[in-house]
Symmetry: C2
Subunit: 278 residues, 2 copies
């Protein structure tokens, strides 16, 4: 039976590309928000959900982090890293010199700022809710318009590609997580994501908490802090460590961390695609 | 002589409100991007710049963090915390039940999602580049439109306020930094912002580095990680600590940290408005 994969749509977004990379045969279920894509799995309308979590230029995707922290009973069961290459596209008869307006998602406009300043210095930049929506807005625009999106969107909407790989930084990549009812069984090269916070205001508590990993030679991959919804100045930490939550030394470290933390949630263990040490 | 304050414009944004809170008498210089506001100070067109750095719901403002890390020779000399309250506004003769489209910045739309679902379930949500631009788009829209922005924008554009304080979470606040050619002299209740990264892949290096503060009883206020532009998996850390960079124990800790880090940049010391311990 084919897997049903929900994702942050509409069709033609980079998240759809990531979902196709994860399972080329899956039935894709487009959702209009990150929360809706996760809810589709909880409600049984999809088996797993693909959500963007981090871009190498834009940083963390706040809505996905908040979903993991506050709402979801789902677990992370895989990660996908997708290089992001932007194209600029227009209607078929468009002369680039006549373009007066460029539509795209604000992050994509920011990632192509240098290119746009050099090549379209007089065009107005207009924000869209997704790259894919930008192509639709370009096509229904009464001005001579262009849109920035991925190749998949150009093909899907039969737009004319004016130029490819126009991002200012070519190491631009986005990391996606796949969420499901359970996480992944151990493979030997795994990663575990977790989040925690502290009740105590004791200076140095974060260092003590992270020491539970380094003392056991467990590699820390990344750390993010998110303001709690209680306001500025209180944070929840999101950490990726090497190893599976069933590994003996990870079990030990998590038990020790639980003693310092007021909340500790294991978000899932899964095979690692990217790794680093901090 | 009046201070000239550049800020992320246009007029009517929350950053303008923060600039006015910082110095009600200043001459305000509206800039179209975060980078342009900083450049105005470097070029002598403004004395100081006011930039958003962190929202309690949306998290860090990536462009400001990147400016601090990579580009600016300016120092942080103050911080401003502004509670964020959104209003929904329309043209004067508008019946809320007739509204078919709501314009705002994507972050503001996200912060009012619950309110919009309850009160405008059938309205289309359209992204704008700023809250202030949203009000202009509402006014020139041919549909029955509304916009979400601050009270200042409603007054400035003479829009009719349909409802106030419509954000889903009322502890919503944004922290702004003021950048200038020098940071602030010691006041006794200061904070210092810095960033650093590591060459080494030694597991536990972050714990050792942060230990240089906790070992000296220096309180850590916050930690953010930003992907370096080299791609995912390598991070730069941004840290706020209690104390001024001229305080003896801060000098000592920074000297010790310098031995672990491949890059260490002090972003400025300034009087603290918000504090916490981690």
């Amino acid at each position: 039976m084919k897997m049903r994969l929900s994702y942050l749509g509409p069709e033609g977004t980079y998240t759809e590309e990531a979902a196709t990379k994860y399972d080329p045969c899956a039935d894709l279920v487009s959702c209009s928000t990150i929360t809706a894509a996760a809810t589709a799995v909880v409600a049984g309308e999809a088996d797993e959900a693909v959500l963007p979590i981090e871009n190498s230029l834009g940083g963390a995707v706040a809505e996905t982090l908040d979903l993991l922290i506050h709402q979801s009973e789902l677990q992370i069961r895989s990660e996908i890293v997708l290089p992001i290459h932007h194209s600029i596209m227009a209607k078929h008869d468009t002369n680039p010199e006549d373009v007066t307006v460029v539509y795209s998602h604000p992050q994509s406009l920011a990632q192509c700022r240098g290119y746009l300043e050099r090549n379209y210095p007089n065009a107005r930049l207009v924000a869209s809710l997704s790259n894919s929506a930008a192509v639709g807005e370009m096509q229904s625009s009464e001005e001579t318009a262009a849109a920035i999106a991925g190749r998949r969107a150009a093909a899907l909407y039969e737009a004319h590609t004016l130029d490819q790989d126009i991002e200012d930084n070519h190491s631009n990549a986005t990391r996606f997580v796949v969420m499901g009812h359970t996480d992944h069984k151990p493979t030997g090269t795994d990663k575990t994501s977790l989040c925690f916070d502290f009740d105590s205001d004791a200076p140095g508590i974060l260092v003590v908490a992270l020491g539970e990993f380094s003392n056991r030679n467990i590699n820390l991959n990344k750390i993010e802090s998110r303001p709690t919804r209680m306001g500025l100045g209180r944070y929840i930490f999101l950490v990726d460590i090497d190893g599976h939550r069933q590994d003996a030394k990870v079990v030990e470290a998590l038990d020790a961390l639980r003693k310092h933390a007021s909340m500790l949630k294991v978000l899932g263990s899964y095979p690692r695609e990217v790794s680093s040490s901090i």
